[in-house]
């Protein structure tokens, strides 16, 4: 399946220096490296992240990306994966335990990207929108019934 996928990758990508760098890290199968390249392009070209480069992760046999949203921000670690894969909690912890804030990026077959933030422990969510006082509405209802 990997060989078929390799042939599908457009020439301009195969010849791209960054793609070749990522391949040269010699971890991850071609599908995962391709996903990493797409995420790299999104982060650098679309979102304007700085200092993005590939990092090899031998324990996971995958290519990770490291970068900053803008100059001076903390480094974040991104784990790109093709969408048809499965993941273990152990694997996610492996990346989390490196210490940097982590993003999981899932790459669909149509090249659309979905980012999710992962962090250790309990991250309190944003509070829900305030519920308005329903009191007056109730009185209005009662008047309709009598």
């Amino acid at each position: 399946m990997d060989e078929a996928h390799q042939a599908d990758i457009p020439n301009w990508i195969q010849q791209h220096s960054v793609y070749q760098d990522l391949m040269r890290l010699d971890v991850g199968d071609s599908a995962q490296v391709y996903a990493a390249f797409l995420v790299y392009m999104d982060l650098t070209e679309v979102r304007g992240w700085s200092g993005v480069f590939g990092v090899s992760c031998p324990e996971l046999q995958a290519v990770l990306l490291e970068g900053r949203e803008k100059e001076g921000d903390t480094v974040q670690m991104i784990y790109p994966l093709p969408s048809h894969r499965s993941i273990k909690h152990k694997v996610l912890r492996c990346v989390l335990d490196r210490g940097s804030p982590m993003l999981l990026c899932v790459v669909a077959s149509d090249s659309s990207l979905v980012y999710q933030r992962l962090c250790d422990g309990f991250l309190t969510p944003d509070p829900p929108l305030d519920i308005q006082d329903q009191g007056r509405r109730q009185h209005r209802k009662r008047r309709l019934q009598t």
């Binding site: 969408s83 499965s86 273990k88």
Partner: protein, 290 residues
């Protein structure tokens, strides 16, 4: 320990009735005591005066397997299995007799009630000089023959606070059954996560509606919204990425963080004392990157 637990009261044992493998609680005092220890459960019975709705429910309180196990571990709770078939014919006959006399009593009372209503109507019509009062009087006179009280209208009282649910210690010992909850790997994982989150002070309810295992509240669910949807899994369990995406998206829509919870494997042999086995938590949030 919670302040709610009163060691001085004689009978501290809580009764958990099992219907198959579903743990239920019937007594209000037991339910109150459990709430004090953080076990919430879910009311699943219908209220006598508010049938045919699902907004307000009554007893019994259905417990999650983890809640029942927790009660067994922390405060004393004994399980009793109420047998479905009652082989005791004498008891069955007595019960039928009680039902029959209750029915007759209700018939009489219903008839009296109806007569009173008709008399009142008649009186009112006479006061108003309304001639249609004659029709009402005829009905009243015919009532003794014409009145029927169908069996389906009969009210049946279920005694939950009396015999059958409050046994003396000797009887309870006799009725006590082995815990009928199966303990496979999946339920072990869920229970370890439940116990750990409880020990951290969180309140938990079932998260079936959200596709997760537990809803995690920072306090009593009557006062707070849930903060997390807890997903229990082993460290090695494979999760399809589509499922991860789906639940993260759901969490974002309902303003809850998805919590991946995995019990840590016990530490390798070689250490003298047994190290407390913890649970690893990872928070998953839909990224704010647009």
């Amino acid at each position: 320990m919670d302040a709610g637990e009163d060691q001085s009261t004689g009978d501290d044992v809580i009764d958990i009735s099992f219907c198959g493998s579903t743990p239920l609680m019937w007594k209000v005092s037991d339910i109150k005591k459990c709430r004090g220890t953080g076990v919430i459960g879910a009311l699943v019975g219908s209220l006598a005066r508010q049938p045919r709705q699902n907004v307000r429910m009554g007893r019994p309180l259905e417990l999650m397997q983890e809640e029942a196990l927790m009660l067994e571990e922390t405060i004393s709770a004994s399980a009793s299995l109420h047998t479905q078939d009652c082989k005791d014919e004498e008891a069955a006959r007595q019960y039928e007799a009680v039902l029959e006399s209750s029915y007759k009593e209700q018939c009489t009372l219903a008839l009296e009630d109806k007569k009173t209503v008709l008399r009142r109507i008649m009186q009112k019509k006479e006061n108003d000089n309304d001639d249609s009062g004659y029709a009402v009087r005829d009905r009243l006179n015919a009532l003794d023959q014409a009145f029927s009280f169908p069996r389906s209208a009969m009210a049946i009282q279920l005694c939950t606070a009396r015999a059958g649910f409050s046994h003396c210690p000797d009887e309870r010992g006799f009725l006590y059954t082995d815990w009928p909850i199966p303990r496979d790997e999946r339920s072990e994982i869920r229970f370890r996560v439940y116990r750990d989150l409880r020990s951290k002070g969180y309140y938990l309810t079932s998260a079936g509606k959200f596709g997760g295992d537990f809803l995690v509240y920072p306090g009593d669910p009557l006062r707070f919204h849930a903060h997390y949807i807890a997903l229990c899994m082993s460290m090695d369990e494979q999760l399809p990425l589509c499922d991860v995406l789906a639940i993260a998206r759901l969490g974002s829509n309902v303003k809850k963080t998805v919590l991946l919870c995995s019990p840590q494997k016990p530490s390798e042999a070689g250490k003298e004392e047994r190290i407390e086995e913890g649970v690893v938590y990872s928070s998953l949030q839909w990224s704010s990157i647009v």
